[in-house]
């Protein structure tokens, strides 16, 4: 089983908590980056060879948000732990179940981590400055018919209670439900209103 994170953050997913010894492939890309090389080819090569049960653990000196986004779009769940200031460990595992589409790109917003959790898209917007989290949610709603699970639902991690988002959701016949509210942030489920 993977080591528990040192910094309080989102709950570790079941597939990682229940990981067996030998199920994980480790790849430390810090030396590759230190040598001035791009480790992407090496990572994609490892990903290509992974079985659905395998978990890929990547150690990097920063949070590789674009990589997480890329692999999320290819159907890989991910979970990141910040071990120290310049040491991140990110776990990837192929999502079991339906084939997942590529993640949409929002070029006018800063990068943010995305993941699939049990077939539902999860966006971590905690590092975005307001009002970008609200904009990311509204942009997601615009394209959600292609990406959302459970009738378009998706979840977002936020730092702040999205009070300015609520009226916008109402106007679009969507709603928000806070499903986790702790020091590490709020996990909010965004879903379409059910027809009356």
């Amino acid at each position: 089983m993977a080591e528990k994170p040192k910094i309080k953050q989102a709950a570790m997913p079941d597939w990682l908590c229940g990981a067996q010894p030998g199920q994980t492939i480790d790849l430390d890309v810090r030396p590759i980056l230190a040598a001035g090389n791009d480790p992407l080819a090496e990572i994609l090569s490892q990903v290509k060879e992974m079985s659905p049960e395998t978990i890929l653990s990547i150690e990097a000196p920063f949070d590789p948000v674009p990589l997480r986004r890329l692999l999320a779009g290819k159907g890989y769940d991910n979970y990141a732990i910040q071990r120290s200031d310049q040491h991140w460990q990110i776990y990837f595992k192929r999502h079991v179940g339906q084939k997942l589409p590529d993640f949409p790109s929002f070029p006018d917003l800063p990068d943010f981590p995305v993941a699939w959790r049990d077939g539902i898209l999860e966006m971590d917007l905690r590092k975005l400055m307001p009002p970008d989290p609200m904009i990311a949610v509204l942009k997601m709603i615009e394209v959600t018919s292609d990406y959302g699970g459970e009738g378009g639902a998706f979840t977002v991690w936020l730092n702040r209670d999205p009070i300015y988002l609520y009226p916008e959701l109402i106007g679009r016949q969507w709603h928000a439900q806070i499903i986790h509210d702790e020091d590490d942030g709020l996990l909010v489920k965004i879903a379409k209103d059910e027809p009356i």
Partner: protein, 425 residues
């Protein structure tokens, strides 16, 4: 789902409606009183040169009564949401109003009739309220990480507030006892700190959240905000030093740096505007866009004045453009969006779903406000340019009509909020 969870947690970060709405109501009342007082004193406007009397009172009705009043209400509401730090002592938020609102009434009345003791007492009450407000804001933004550009605007605005307060009280005492060698330089510094330090910096800082939020657009790059506020602070310091040690070149250089900072701000806002998801932005954005144009014109006109090329009444034109054209116009645009939004959030209807504000008040009243304000602004500018008292008076009538439109709209909203809370209780 919406009903039970719609405001889950949000209520804790939204202030009780009585707090922001008391400032908004007082601000809109002062907005109407400002136009009325301008109507009465129109013949003194074009000859005014920073002394006491009715025009000094009219200026403070706009700056303290309308601008600062509304900024206090909006800041208390917005900052607690943006920083995730709720104001714990709501009584302190209320206490500000108990000092500040009667303080401004007394101060502006005393200024109008040149009553020295009244001015001093009014300034003491107003200053007391502003100091409590300043303490609340500093406590709220202290240690906040992220949003560096917005926080820098807030810090600089609070420092400006402390500076302008000190200078304001000094000016009143000096008007009676005359111990300072250059009253004009002090008054100019006070004006610059108030209009371009405190109010402009807060307006710009909050723009980086408010404008993208209203327009549904990604925020502008953080770097633009940082450079802009850096230029504005540097320019302000340059101007203040230049004014007080009589270095015209430093004043002009300061205005030049501020012009660059303002340009970056406008560029950032135009990016937001272009990337917006909400295509129809309505009346508030007509006001906001006009205010940006006038902000740029004010900066250019300021530089013309510093270079010594202002014609007669150039300084009055500058003050009118900065206070009515830029700040009041911008603020009316923001108020037209914030009032309906907060009212909607605080009056969840059946099942907890927020009501549309069109169900609470007639939105044509907002059109009256826009037309009245813009008509009033245009006529006052024209009247100053050509020294036509009657045109200034006509502008004041239009402005007053616009203010009454907003006031009636606000009264409808408040009556709705009160009846909703009564039903809820």
């Amino acid at each position: 789902m919406i009903g039970a969870n719609f405001l889950s947690g949000a209520g804790g970060r939204l202030l009780p409606p009585s707090i922001p709405f008391r400032y908004f109501t007082a601000g809109v009342i002062f907005y109407a009183v400002f136009w009325a007082a301008l109507f009465v004193s129109a013949d003194e406007l074009t000859s005014y040169t920073m002394g006491g009397g009715p025009i000094l009172s009219v200026i403070h009705m706009a700056t303290l009564g309308v601008l600062s009043m509304t900024v206090i209400g909006a800041s208390l509401q917005l900052l607690s949401v943006a920083t995730r730090k709720a104001f714990k002592g709501f009584w302190l938020c209320r206490l500000v109003s108990w000092f500040y609102i009667p303080g401004i009434f007394l101060l502006t009345y005393a200024m109008y009739i040149s009553w020295y003791s009244g001015m001093l007492m009014g300034a003491g009450l107003t200053g007391g309220g502003l100091l409590i407000f300043c303490g609340l804001i500093i406590h709220n933004i202290w240690g906040v990480t992220g949003m560096a550009a917005i926080m820098a605007h807030c810090w600089a605005a609070m420092l400006s507030l402390m500076g302008l307060l000190s200078l304001g009280i000094l000016l009143i005492v000096n008007a009676e006892h005359g111990f300072m060698p250059d009253h004009f330089a002090l008054a100019t510094s006070h004006f610059i700190l108030a209009v371009f330090g405190f109010m402009t910096l807060l307006a710009m800082g909050f723009s980086y959240i408010l404008i993208p939020m209203f327009a549904l657009s990604p925020g502008p790059p953080e770097g633009l905000g940082r450079w802009s506020v850096g230029c504005n602070i540097t320019g302000l310091i340059g101007i203040l030093i230049g004014v007080n040690i009589y270095l015209d070149w430093l004043v002009i250089a300061g205005i030049g740096v501020i012009f660059f900072g303002v340009g970056l701000y406008i560029y950032a806002m135009s990016r937001v505007y272009k990337a917006r998801m909400r295509k129809r932005l309505g009346l508030p954005f007509i006001l906001i866009r006009i205010s940006w144009v006038i902000l740029l014109i004010s900066a250019i006109w300021g530089a013309v004045g510093a270079a010594g090329y202002w014609p007669d009444r150039g300084h009055t034109l500058f003050a009118a453009a900065a206070i009515i054209g830029w700040l009041l116009t911008f603020l009316m645009g923001v108020l037209q969006r914030i009032i309906p939004f907060l009212a909607s959030m605080h009056s969840s209807g059946h099942g907890g779903v927020p009501l549309l504000t069109s169900a609470m008040a007639d939105e044509r009243l907002l059109t009256v406000n826009v037309l009245g304000h813009l008509g009033g602004l245009s006529a006052v500018i024209l009247g100053i340019m050509f020294d036509w008292d009657m045109v200034i008076r006509a502008g004041a009538v239009m402005g007053f009509a616009g203010a009454m439109g907003l006031l009636i709209y606000l009264m409808y909203i408040i009556r709705h909020l009160a009846s909703f809370r009564g039903e809820k209780a």
